[in-house]
Amino acid sequence: MPKLLSMHDAIAEFVPDGSSVAVGLQLEQMIPFAAGHEIIRQKRRELRLIGPISDCLFDQLIGAGCVKDVVAAWVGNVMMGQAYNFRRAVEAGEVRVFNMTNFTIALGLQAGAMGLPFLPTRTAMGSDVPKGNHFFYQIISPFEPKEMLLAVRAIVPDVTIVHVQRADEEGNAHCWGNFGVMLEAVRAARKVIVIAEEIVSPEIIASDPNRTMIPGFLVSAVVREPFGAHPSPVQGYYSRDNDFFRQYHAETKTPDEYGRWRAEWVDGLKSRAEYLERLGHPRIDALKVKKHAFSAPADYGY
């Protein structure tokens, strides 16, 4: 079955209601906003969102009523601070939060990736994060000295959605820049959707296997979506649109304001292509790479 799908079809097929979805895994880089917007347009409900720091993607999904609970270390708008939909929904008891830390999100996903029930750590002991939180359990090391440790429960997302620079049609994907917890989340998930700025030939991917962060056999769907991470940055493709994050902060303080924002940027648009039209060429051009910085080629010959 061909894996190369439209964003609409990839979300329709692989993100059903009630799914646990790991997304926004590279911290503030390469956040799959286009996928998030398609989830909102398709009115998905009862989702569990998993991620370390979502920037404001989680806030948008929560404000649209897609989310039942959140397994995250931090939810907000990184450069501006608070995100309002998240705060309102949690304070009203509409969305439950399982408080994690960045490291314990990574450990939970790594346990999932390795087929283990948990991984131990020394972090978060003495904090309130593990209290009443079923992702944590205090254990004693079986080895001398028999130290107290914290077990972090495995996290196995139904689907992990990642945005990368380039992939082939099988989902073998090159990614460079910072990875955050993407590698663990890809290996832990039951299904993986890869969204790429470019679809390239298998020969290009195979030319640099050290850069192949995702092997295609783990991938269920591949979507070509240029500028699909905007307003977050994609190294080597476009910069962070800081003004967009500022505007989101200013324009989404109340549910009505967020409704208007969503009508303008999500619900009133059919696709990412229409989103880019709304964004306009001058703004897009201003974000494109100004000064290329290519790495030296690596010789894989023998």
Partner: protein
Amino acid sequence: MNFTLGELMVAAAAREIRDGEVVFVGMRLPLIAFVVAKRTHAPNCVGLFENGVIRTKPAPELIYTMADPPNLLHATQCLDMMGVMGLLQSGRVDLGFLGAAEVDRCGNLNSTQVQGKNGLLRLPGSGGACDIASLARRFVAMIEHSPHRLPQRVSYITSPGNGDGKGFRRRAGLPRGGPAAIITTKAVLRFGEDGEAYLYSHHPGVSVDDVVGSTGWKLRVGDEVQETPVPSQGELRAIREYDTQGFWTS
């Protein structure tokens, strides 16, 4: 000499970094403190960022988040969170920086939820703060100085400081560390042997009474309270050449 409060706090934070140290940089003001330290007294410090970036040179231009493209360009290494968090857990990080909504008498931090008039107010959460506070050899927090932000006891410990006092960290199972300083908008607090904060220095133009009166507990005053040193010309130059619009430091 003219400088802003933000510049004073960034310079104070930068001075917490000793040359050659490995520093977990964190978000917001500390992003600049690392740059200032690199360009002034600590050219050999190493910066770790939880997105997986390690830098021995500061980013070439202003960044708003640790994953902004300039923070990746010419980095020492760009990999994953598990790698840098593993270094943190195994004791290879000297100093970490944190922000919080509340810091209490024993240096515990809350960035998860606070009690408001009409119930709980939800905040963004830990991010990597709990990990840094748990695992770095020492940490420094930055916060606005008011009785609400500096309560006797935080309502939720997102990031553990000295808990309820001396010996808490060892009893809790934490391997090392604890708070070294709290840099506020009025003062710098440090911690005694008993794990409790005391006034170490007040910022220029702020009286000791003002600091004590703006703190949510009876703040101990150190024997030799100093005035927080003003930023040097070199520090101000480093801040202003970087944060040209004053986004973080105006």
